[in-house]
Symmetry: C2
Subunit: 325 residues, 2 copies
């Protein structure tokens, strides 16, 4: 199992490559919940999400032989771009298996900005895994799994490690949970730093597999994946389940409306672009399910990658009107 | 005319009340323009814009008699909320004259959040001034003008003062220009700090009154106000014209499309919510009208207050679909 020392070692590997992201606060927010809230803003991380930490920590430890063969992952989300950029920085080849349903802009960014080799597949989780496995068998690529990987988990924990070093005397830390990589790494960092700090995972109630898994004592899956928090639709692995069961004090669920309301607060009042998955952790604080009065609370904002096409279409419409008046 | 020492004194008055806003950078942006860009993020200022600095600097210097009578301003924008909050913090009464066309959400925020007395008027600049003047005559309120006021200008300059102290060896500073309060204060701070630093004002070409004023040597006005940069639709006063003519190296204009493109870059790549007026200064850098190669450039992002209703309507629609699936 990943240990606190693994997070410390990961931090030394990634600290000169990843952004030391800022911690943002809001008087209005603190008054609203009668607590002191510290947002650890991984939306300001390279590629726009915490995923860069785990991907770089994993890739930087590959053997020369592994590096010469290259890495692979399957993802249409933040992890794809993290692996592509981390590989580029390490000077090695990356192959990203993406479902045909991926937005063209993401495919282009992964291929053109980060020079990754993109392989398209059918939009099912089975097709992704099969396509990746075939390429691994053929080329000897090393798989960088988005969360079922000790180095990825230890790297993810470095965000909380920075938070704990920047903000004294935290009582609680909230982090979102999807596959459990971020929550696992965060929990190891938090409990290793100070075992008295409570750690909460926050999950959309429409995809509450982690909540149910901790109740039943085994990995549960989701029948449907109807959440705007598109980074949290996966379920735990044995590896993340075991860490979370050991370290996490409680998993709480939030409705889609609570996620949207938290996101809106962060955009409107704090002027930060965060994605729905990234706002989940604050939604957990705002939900009122945990007593937070007078506590000092760290909140991991996991990322800020959201499609702004529709919003900027509205701006274009306004420009046309202005220019024609 | 406002002097550098006025900015220093203003800074000592406001520094414990306003936010010391962060400076944000982007590798992608620096590579794009082959320069080092430092965004001074006044979107993170209290009330979401730099206006808080000038309002508080002005209000904190009123006599006891003026304080007991209260202050007034006419604005539907950021200055209204800045005066309301600054007055609240100083424990004095504020009256804000707002046009009937103001969004209800802004009226409510000014009244409820900041306890200001809101007086509605017809949506013309003449009606605003007349309504305010009648209330001044009747109640003896002190007018806090949004830019035609030395203390407001000196206060606005404190954003650049913080920037200059945080970032060494700047070659250039870019700021947006509407009524000229921010550009005046910025130019005094910049030239007082180091007269070798170039200072540029950036203005929408659809409301290019300041650009034309510096050409003609007298205050020009706008025939139309067709810009998405709704904070920059006003024109200079004698006071701001004189300061800008003396200090500012050049005013450059940007198209509506350039403003939208700069705004989109800041939102998508830097994860910052900025308003169109706030993105104007970066639009000036990106316009290519000024050679910036290898320069160190400060960019004042004036604010981040933008109506997000339409965007979150789109999110609500997505939630309804998710919850019904």
């Amino acid at each position: 199992m990943v240990q606190y020392t693994d997070v410390l070692e990961a931090y030394n590997r990634v600290k000169d490559v990843v952004n030391k992201t800022p911690i943002m606060t809001s008087r209005t927010l603190n008054e609203l919940v009668n607590a002191e809230i510290f947002l650890k803003c991984e939306n300001f991380q390279r590629i726009g999400a915490f995923k860069m930490r785990g991907a770089y920590n994993a890739i930087s430890q590959l053997s020369e032989k592994q590096k010469s063969r290259g890495v692979i992952t399957h993802s249409s989300g933040n992890h794809a771009q993290a692996v592509a950029l981390a590989a580029k920085l390490a000077g090695i080849r990356a192959t990203i298996v993406m479902p045909k349903s991926s937005p063209q802009v993401k495919v282009n960014a992964t291929r053109d900005t980060y020079n990754a080799n993109v392989v398209m597949c059918e939009p099912t989780i089975e097709a992704r895994q099969k396509t990746a496995q075939e390429l691994i068998d053929k080329h000897g690529f090393t798989l960088i799994h988005p969360y079922d990987n000790d180095d990825v988990i230890a790297g993810a924990g470095t965000a909380a490690y920075e938070l704990l070093n920047d903000v004294e005397n935290l009582d609680m830390v909230f982090a979102p949970v999807g596959g459990g990589g971020l929550l696992s790494g965060t929990s190891i960092a938090v409990k290793g730093f100070d075992s008295d700090i409570k750690i909460f995972g926050v999950e959309p109630e429409n995809v509450d597999d982690a909540y149910r898994s901790l109740k039943s004592g085994k990995i549960e899956t989701n029948k449907t994946i109807n959440s705007i928090a598109d980074g949290l639709l996966t379920y735990l692995s044995e590896r993340t389940f075991n860490i979370i069961e050991k370290n996490v004090d409680q998993i709480i669920t939030v409705s889609e409306q609570e996620i949207a309301d938290a996101m809106r607060f962060i955009w409107e009042r704090m002027k930060l672009v965060v994605e729905p998955s990234g706002a989940c952790s604050l939604a957990g604080v705002l939900s009122g399910k945990i007593r937070v009065d007078n506590k000092r609370i760290g909140v991991i904002i996991s990322g800020g990658n959201i499609d702004l096409n529709e919003f900027f279409d509205l701006i274009q419409k306004k420009i046309r009107i202005k220019n024609n008046n």
